[in-house]
Symmetry: C2
Subunit: 416 residues, 2 copies
């Protein structure tokens, strides 16, 4: 293969996901093999996703990566694992139009450029690494013409970030923990696609926090090593919940879905608390949101909203339908109004049509919201929530064939 | 027995206690039988105690009770259980000096007046009901000349409030869950008295809270009914911890004691979180106190302080010795200084000699405290703690023979 100036680009977009039956605890730290199955819902990439462009060119002299415009190191084991595994599955590539021809054996010598961008704040605790590694693996597989199905790719993405494997599909996804030592059967499968249960509406409350949080990698390790409750959860409780959750999802049984989702979120945080030293991801604002949802659900007699919290204080609220979501947003904005100088457009982002349904067009409409009747002496506290994201269950990874959407320059292979 | 005007009084003082291996969950709601053994340390009654005067007179026409000066109803089952059980054990009483003679059978017809007073805020979540029921049962037993030992009395106090049974002794106390259906073997025994480990110093942070808390009776019931982790805790984990904790106490092994105390407090709060709906007793301030203690213990290489939290946000901190307690108080006052208009004398109460050892004589000394070196960017937040109580392990119930300390008038049997 002679020195040439061509650059081959692939751009993909991958969603993030939120677990409704939680993954917490690894049985193998390097391969990232979990102690139990987990189930997630994929979030609409229109509101939360990672876009990644990968490029190959004989002119590149090393692997490089840019995250949100800033170059970062690829030396970490997790990136290296993903690159190695995809390279091992690379096939011949021929692009007649561009005159590019890459033989299978060439991939070992060719270097890669990667540019990745999240359409949401990376630091907000919204599973950016899940979307990121899923997108990296998906894009690299397409670039290198790897023939693996998404489930196979999910087992590679898993080695970047465990929950990334669940971002290879839309709708509801199960990560099967697997049994083999090499982790080859620890992969994601789609339970149902995003059209199966399209009544659901998701509102995320991004909660302000003073506290620096324990990373989920460190936290999980500490829990596995010190919690006396984790093994009981993983071996006795979760397997039953997985069966029940699959059934609830398949039959669109919102009452069961909500009960399982809330219980499993709480139990995940319970085993965090049972860790030495204890891990607190939820804060007083998270607790208030739970209390608000629990009281409303109780007053309605049947669940309107499920809540789930990952390794941080943000609440992910899943409403049974659009009507419930509209009421939920009104209640949330009553309890957590924005600071006076906030732009409503940046306080409620994503699918703004729910805001319109809720009759809120300006900050004064928030001030005028009535207190939810199910809570006595409801207090309003400004500043406890940074912003809300309105979204819904969404689709899996896609390729963006329009080169104008690429994050790398098709001539230089460097960030645009 | 002819109509007479005499009044017979007994006044007792009983300590409160804090569990280091927690009681959470009943297997019998009426008899108050727990799902596991628990172990507590009795707090010095000089700083936290209940004083109760009980009186009997042929002139009383009904049972009456005053709590902190206010008459309350005795119709609740818990009061009735205690009154009934002690009356069943009453014996002949003869007071030659006063010319009082009460035959065993008369107790069924005689009415009782009760006045009880806590030397600490009742609503502050400091186990006032434990000290209260222990004191009621102890005082009634003396009044009625019941011959039962304190362990037998503890089984009666237990029927008023579970943890009350542990307030019948000083030092470290074990509540044995028992096996019989009638609860007769569910009682407290003293492990060691208060002199056995007199190095320990206890500092209680009374934490400000906006939230109304779930009562422990309701909370426990919900946990028993809905938590999938509680039974595992009660059956598999606590029995081992009880053995280890007894050993740690007997050998004054502070490192083991601290590790077990903290782990068990955290696990109790974990099962609360695993309850439907979840129960949160600790708040962000509680979490900050834990974090402060954990980081300090870690930086010292060996535990200096154990923490434990009951059904509320207040921290009970047990320091290994006076030196550790002095440093702890400095750290706590650094993180949680009083509001500017606070009187230092009401911000740190109890054993104020620790304040003196810490070199703090005025609010300006608190302002001048250096940040604890083990925490980077240590923030100070005024108003998160209401006040601190400095105390130590203490003795069990005593009789106050000096009638001037009685809460009821020896002539009328009414509150003074």
């Amino acid at each position: 293969m002679a020195e040439q100036t061509w650059v081959r680009l692939v751009t993909a977009q991958t969603p993030t996901n939120i677990a409704v039956i939680k993954y917490w605890g690894k049985r193998d730290e390097t391969l990232i093999l979990p102690v139990n199955d987990s189930i997630s819902v994929t979030l609409d990439p229109e509101h939360l996703c990672t876009t990644t462009t990968v490029a190959v060119s004989p002119s590149f002299d090393q692997d490089r990566m840019w995250l949100n415009g800033k170059e970062i190191s690829l030396s970490g084991g997790r990136y290296q694992n993903c690159l190695r595994e995809i390279r091992a599955r690379a096939c011949d590539v021929e692009d007649e139009e561009k005159g590019i021809k890459i033989a299978r054996k060439d991939w070992e010598k060719l270097h890669i450029h990667i540019a990745s961008y999240n359409n949401f704040p990376t630091a907000a605790g919204l599973a950016s690494s899940a979307a990121g590694f899923a997108c990296l693996v998906f894009a690299l597989a397409k670039l290198m013409n790897a023939k693996e199905e998404n489930s196979q790719l999910s087992a590679i993405a898993r080695q970047g970030s465990g929950s990334a494997c669940r971002s290879l599909f839309g709708g509801f996804v199960k990560w099967i923990m697997g049994k083999t030592e090499d982790g080859s059967d620890s992969l994601a499968v789609q339970l149902v696609d995003e059209k199966h249960w399209d009544d659901l509406v998701i509102i995320i409350a991004v909660v302000s926090s003073r506290q620096k949080e324990t990373s989920s990698t460190t936290g999980m390790r500490d829990t596995v090593e010190t919690s006396l409750l984790l093994q009981h959860r993983a071996q006795e409780i979760v397997p039953k919940r997985i069966v029940e959750m699959e059934e609830a999802i398949k039959s669109r049984d919102f009452a069961s879905f909500a009960q399982l989702t809330c219980a499993d979120s709480n139990q995940f945080h319970a085993v965090c608390l049972d860790t030495r030293p204890p891990i607190f991801y939820m804060n007083d604002t998270s607790h208030r949101i739970i209390s608000c949802v629990e009281k409303w659900n109780r007053s309605e007699g049947t669940p309107q909203v499920a809540y789930t919290f990952d390794a941080g204080p943000n609440a992910v609220l899943i409403a049974r339908d659009r009507k419930a979501a509209t009421q939920l947003l009104q209640k949330l904005l009553f309890y957590f109004p924005p600071q006076p100088d906030t732009d409503l457009n940046s306080y409620v982002i994503g699918d703004k049509s729910i805001l319109k349904d809720a009759g809120i067009e300006a900050l004064k409409d928030i001030d005028a919201l009535p207190p939810p009747p199910e809570i006595k002496d409801a207090q309003r506290s400004k500043g406890d929530v940074s912003y809300f994201i309105c979204t819904r269950p969404g689709r899996g990874p896609i390729l963006l064939s329009d080169e104008t959407q690429a994050l790398l320059d098709p001539k230089t292979g460097l960030p645009k």
